[in-house]
């Protein structure tokens, strides 16, 4: 439990750090950190109940993507301004490094194993984001069918 808490706290602070490195506008920082907290929490919760790497990352990225799409519509900015910080705690950086480090050392078995994990995690994140934006697009097009509800839109 306490290791989960450490992961949550460091995940959010890491999101904060990377958001700054990605030159996010300072006024978006609070929401970016909230998004990082959200994806990190969802990942830790789902990871507790489901084995494997794909489903937890998918769920976490999906929640992060939906959160980002909502923020993006509210503030009228590109969704990736929020998606990028949101998925930072999930990004398989260490895995990618281990894959290549095994490959360089000639440990083919380890390279394949880590490589498959990296690919699975990245696929889960990407699928989560894609499904999130797909759902948003569907929702927007359904809303547009009802006429003149937001006709005063600037």
């Amino acid at each position: 439990m306490s290791s989960d808490l450490i992961m949550l706290i460091t995940g959010v602070l890491g999101t904060l750090g990377f958001s700054i490195l990605f030159y996010i506008h300072p006024r978006r920082l609070p929401l970016a950190c909230l998004g990082g907290l959200l994806t990190c929490a969802v990942y830790l919760i789902v990871n507790r109940f489901v084995d494997g790497d794909f489903i937890p990352n998918l769920c976490a990225a999906l929640v992060g993507a939906l959160f980002s799409e909502i923020c993006a519509r509210v503030f009228r900015v590109p969704a990736s301004v929020f998606t990028t910080p949101c998925i930072i705690p999930l990004v398989p950086g260490g895995m990618l490094y281990r894959t290549m480090s095994c490959a360089v050392q000639g440990d083919l078995h380890g390279a394949v194993q880590y490589g498959m994990t990296t690919l699975t995690v990245a696929l889960g994140i990407a699928a989560g984001i894609a499904v999130g934006s797909l759902l948003t697009m569907l929702w927007v097009s359904v809303c547009k069918k009802q006429p003149s509800r937001r006709s005063g839109d600037p």
């Binding site: 602070l13 750090g17 030159y23 978006r28 990736s80 705690p89 950086g93 990618l96 994140i125």
Partner: protein, 269 residues
Amino acid sequence: MDTIDQAQPSAVSADDALDIAISVGRELLHAGGEVHRVEDTMTRICTAYGAAGSEVFVIPSMIMADVVMPDGTRAHRMCRVWRTYQHLARLEGINALSRVICASPLPRAEVMDRLAAIRAERPVPRWLCYVGGVLATGCFSLFFGGTWRDGLCASLISLLIIIAERHPLIRVAVNDLGRTALSSFAGGILAALAVAVGLGEHIDMIIVGTIMLEIPGLSFGNAIRDLLCGDIMSGLLRFIEALLRALIMALSYMAALALTNLLWGGAVL
């Protein structure tokens, strides 16, 4: 996006419309915008300036676009984009500008002025970047299971690397992959040094923290997202670039650790 009802775009030539669209698209791609967003934005801008038709093709290193005006004049241009990176504030600014353009087309000079203003904006002061780097690497060292001393080492090393990387000498003289190789090598040496001095406890945990600065984990995810979105070309390019960069990082770290092993006779590992 928004409908155009008051636009009077007939005074704009095909060349000007294409110029404006390409300038905005290039900045958007430069700041880390997704390929389909760049294509979409450029098409919308061309339409806003009264183009009868437009074809836009974008991959991370190039933009190709073709515009036809109602009177039959055409313009075709390609634009090489040298490097892309994440600049979320600029992404936001350019997106706002393209919304303005699509709502009411601005004159060419004004668009260029506004783009220059967006490019000159520094939303994040330099010292805050250092704080961000320190925070990010230290936290991810702890995130992956390091002790607080490992996190401290990772933070200090990343601070040195960031300062060195932003030095004009390295920024101008060395290309992207070369910079990755240099900073990875330095990171490996410094991590071994930190453990040898007794400040750090686990060399692999320090390295896991410091590699987060350079590792293309995010572009790996973006590559697969591009593939899933149907942008096969740009997805493949980003995929290969991410793999190559990770390979170079791993090689540099291995070289650094092998060197320190030789120097200290394997006492570190």
